[in-house]
């Protein structure tokens, strides 16, 4: 069985090492690579397509254009972005589904990856979530 390839761009370094350790400990996943700046993901994925990208941090109200670009080039991709306070994770896929999960734990991240990836084949042409939900604006 081929493993789920994960690439990430994460700061601070301690969190980056935590994510790497988490992925390394999953029997069905492997770390395909890591970049310092999220913008480097665009070039990295052109050379080596992966299944999942994890980006942290991203400001809660930031417009994650990088996600739009990545999904445009790699429609199969699952992107998880952690907010800069790490209090929530956003799930980006190229279909209409998008989700904000509060207080993500290690298990949450793994569950999200397992839940989202099998659904990739059902995906239709969709929209990309490029901002916080209306409820999120109230929160922030």
């Amino acid at each position: 069985m081929s493993k789920i390839n994960v690439m990430f761009s994460s700061r601070p370094k301690l969190l980056s090492e935590v994510i790497r350790n988490l992925i390394d400990h999953q029997p069905d996943m492997r770390v395909a690579g890591e970049v310092v700046d999220p913008i480097e993901l665009i070039f990295a994925l052109r050379k080596m397509p992966v299944d999942v990208v994890i980006i942290t941090p991203l400001k809660p109200d930031g417009n994650p254009r990088i996600c739009s670009q990545l999904l445009k080039e790699h429609p199969e991709l699952l992107i998880l972005t952690l907010t800069d306070d790490n209090q929530a994770v956003y799930i980006f896929q190229s279909d209409a589904r998008r989700k904000r999960v509060e207080q993500p734990s290690e298990q949450t991240l793994i569950d999200i990856i397992h839940e989202c990836l099998p659904l990739r084949s059902d995906r239709g042409p969709g929209t990309v979530f490029t901002g916080p939900e209306p409820d999120d604006r109230k929160r922030d």
Binding site: P12, L14, L15, V18, H25, Q87, E106
Partner: protein, 223 residues
Amino acid sequence: MTKDLPVRIFIADDNCLLLEGLVTMLGEQDDFLVIGTAPNGNKAIELIRNLKPDIALIDIGMPDKDGIEVTQTLHQELPEVRVIILGLIDLTDEIMACIEAGATGYVLKESSFDCLVETIRSVCRNETFCSPRIAASLFSRIAELTGETRQNLPADSVKLTARELDVINLIAEGLSNKEIAGRLFIETQTVKNHIHNILDKLHLHNRFETVIYARDRKLLKNS
């Protein structure tokens, strides 16, 4: 903390992902045992009072009670618990505030996990392990403080002897060591000794600085 027993560690951080990850990774070290965690400062203090860990890793930016407040409380109530702060930025004032609050270590979250492990082990050995970035910040701050102390030093707080003042006045007249020795009826080596002591007392580097110093503080006879 005895040599054979694992180091008992408590971790407080509101970042759930980082907290869990650190529990896992520190737990993989043979000589560490993570005995508890907390997602905020108040809970951390409550649990640490009961658990009394050897080391408390405290995130500086928790919402209810920040790392500095937690450190102050722990330092007052449980001075035997050694606090290592997990900081986000190497702001010198912040690091100094942590040290003043009683922290025995400060690790940037931008540091590697190996650096964190090394810091914990160093603190357990009653040593301090400092990343180069933090060391640079601290040295910079110490230099600032030392400079302020020097500038604020009143002239009469430096105890110059009458003979040393004589030497300074003669230096200000432009005399050489030999000429000063002749004027004061002492050996040239004795003049050198006086100058050495003057520079040492005033934290100066050369004769020129000594004259400037004496002139500014009106220590020269004709000033």
